[in-house]
């Protein structure tokens, strides 16, 4: 049977809330699950969560907007985050940043037109002994040089071509 995406989202949220204790304390884990499966946290998702936790939707929105890893809008399938903090800065961050922009054809804060990559800054990734460091989704790359950028991005592009049918659904 074909279940509409919104209905599926609602059922998922019910399940995640129950699995995380069923109270307000489950909010952030639930938001993280929503984002993982549906690629972003939509107004609809926030409303459903608010209804189920019996809190105002603004409370949910307040949390989503506070944390830099939670997002309302679609970002790239692969989120590239370059550490901008001092140790990585001293290790050559600026040149890596420039090359990332060159390879992707976008600036920091933007997403490529094909929706594959978005480019962001990150604050200290805890890889200060081997900077510059960058994070692609949950994977870390360290001692990155401008010439390595192309290869790093290529491996994710390849992954995307294989998984072309597994793109996140719109809701």
């Amino acid at each position: 049977m074909l279940v509409p995406v919104q209905e599926r989202l609602r059922q998922d949220i019910e399940g995640w809330i129950a699995a995380n204790g069923g109270d307000r304390g489950s909010l952030i884990p639930v938001l993280q699950e929503v984002q993982k499966k549906y690629s972003r946290i939509s107004d609809y998702a926030m409303q459903v969560i608010a209804d189920q936790l019996d809190i105002h939707p603004v409370e949910v929105h307040g949390v989503v907007s506070f944390y830099s890893f939670l997002k309302e809008e679609h970002k790239g399938r692969f989120e590239v985050r370059l550490c901008r903090t001092i140790s990585c800065d001293m290790a050559g961050r600026d040149r890596v940043a420039r090359q990332l922009e060159n390879e992707l054809g976008i600036s920091f804060g933007e997403t490529t037109h094909d929706g594959r990559f978005s480019l962001e800054w990150a604050n200290c990734l805890g890889m200060c002994d081997q900077g510059p460091a960058l994070l692609v989704n949950e994977q870390v790359f360290t001692s990155v040089t401008p010439e390595k950028i192309h290869d790093i991005l290529a491996q994710f592009k390849k992954m995307m071509d294989i998984n072309v049918f597994q793109q996140a659904e719109e809701h």
Partner: protein, 400 residues
């Protein structure tokens, strides 16, 4: 993943007998566990240096049927990565420490709050927790001690530096924005969901496990009188061998620099963005709670580094990471950054610089939590020691 192995010297954690601390703890009364910790003189390794036994004792004395042990693995301080190493290589020791804490204060639940940037540690940590459950080191009647039950939940942060502050971390666990609370009441009596909660740094918990295994006197015999024991330092910046190093507290900055192969050093930022910048003339000072306290972040700056750039980088960081709840921190950091950019352009008068420093001192006094109180430290210390370098800059200096 494409990372290198972090360089270390010989760490005490690498030669500790597994679960000896837990075994010893469970053979003692709860009060004796805390007494052993008290004898060790262990102070919090996150940077604030609060005596661990006092924290545990307060939580143990609080009356409540629900108590929590929280492991603060939201290691966000720029230049700090020792907790990443500990959680990668010695996670069992940390969980052992949490279990001992659970026994000592009478808590049934432990929570590891892991920063979102370390998501790749989630899988390995979940596996270790499951393995310990299977080995009766977590769950009901741990190690056959009837009536002692303790289990651990892993929770992920979502990219907010301020959640490393214990009350903001608790707010986050409760499903709120990571905005710090007024203290008192302290988490030891009014913490998670209003229940007594201890929040300890990853390294503190690992040391607690070592101490219960080897005895408080063993730990106290190292370090200085007021700063007992050894400590992990995260070293980065201009040196030959950046990495994680363990030294007894009380070591001087110069001794540390020699050990990591740092030459021709202009300054060291001790304690990360929220710490202090120490110029070369003061390298004989000691890294200890009585001299320069630190959570372990050491960023080394060579002679060629522009200290104003360093200040601007840190202020950028705080403008981004301030939770925005209180005015001194939210507005103050913006103003300091604006001022630092004026300095960079060579358009800042001495009078205005003095105003900026006065603002920084107000932020230290008037901000609500540790983030705001410490956010001006780096700027103030750089202005204090490098006035020569930051005033009257010209276009040529900027280009260089």
């Amino acid at each position: 993943m494409s990372t290198m192995k972090t360089i270390t010297n010989t760490l005490t954690f690498s030669s500790v007998e597994p679960d000896a601390g837990l075994k010893a703890a469970l053979s003692k009364s709860r009060a004796d566990v805390i007494a052993e910790l008290n004898a060790s003189n262990l102070k919090g390794r996150g940077g604030a240096g609060f005596p661990t036994s006092v924290k545990w004792n307060l939580a143990a004395a609080a009356k409540s049927d629900k108590k929590y042990v929280v492991c603060n693995a939201d290691e966000g301080e720029p230049g700090t990565f020792k907790d990443r190493l500990i959680l990668s290589d010695y996670a069992n020791l940390v969980i052992e420490g949490m279990t001992i804490a659970g026994y000592a204060i009478g808590a049934k639940t432990g929570i590891i709050y892991l920063r979102g940037e370390y998501s790749y540690l989630r899988g390995p940590l979940t596996a270790i927790i499951a393995k310990r459950r299977a080995a009766n080191l977590l769950g009901a009647d741990i190690m056959g001690k009837s009536g002692f039950a303790f289990d651990i939940i892993l929770r992920m942060g979502a990219g907010a530096y301020v959640c490393g502050e214990e009350t903001a971390l608790i707010e986050s666990l409760e499903g709120h924005r990571g905005e710090s609370r007024n203290r008192p009441p302290f988490p030891v009596d009014t913490g998670l969901m209003g229940n007594p909660t201890i929040v300890n740094n990853v390294e503190t918990l690992a040391w607690a496990a070592c101490i219960l295994g080897k005895g408080g006197d063993w730990f106290k015999s190292m370090g200085t009188e007021k700063s007992a024991g050894r400590k992990l330092f995260s070293v980065s910046g201009d040196c030959a061998r950046p990495g994680v190093y363990e030294f007894p507290l009380g070591i001087t900055i110069q001794e540390l620099l020699d050990a990591i192969g740092a030459e021709d050093v202009k300054a060291v930022q001790v304690g990360g963005a929220s710490g202090h910048c120490v110029p070369a003339g003061q390298f004989q000072r000691a890294l200890s709670f009585e001299d320069i306290p630190t959570g372990g972040s050491m960023i080394v700056f060579g002679q060629h580094r522009d200290m104003l750039d360093v200040a601007i980088n840190f202020l950028d960081f705080f403008v981004e990471e301030s939770c925005g709840q209180c005015t001194p921190c939210r507005e103050g950091n913006e103003k300091l950054l604006e001022g630092a950019l004026l300095l960079e352009e060579g358009r800042c008068s001495m009078a205005y610089l003095k105003d900026l420093c006065a603002l920084g001192e107000s932020m230290q006094l008037a901000s609500k939590c540790g983030l705001g109180q410490s956010s001006a430290n780096a700027f103030l210390s750089i202005v204090k020691y490098f006035k020569d370098e930051i005033l009257g800059r010209t276009a040529v200096a900027q280009a260089g």
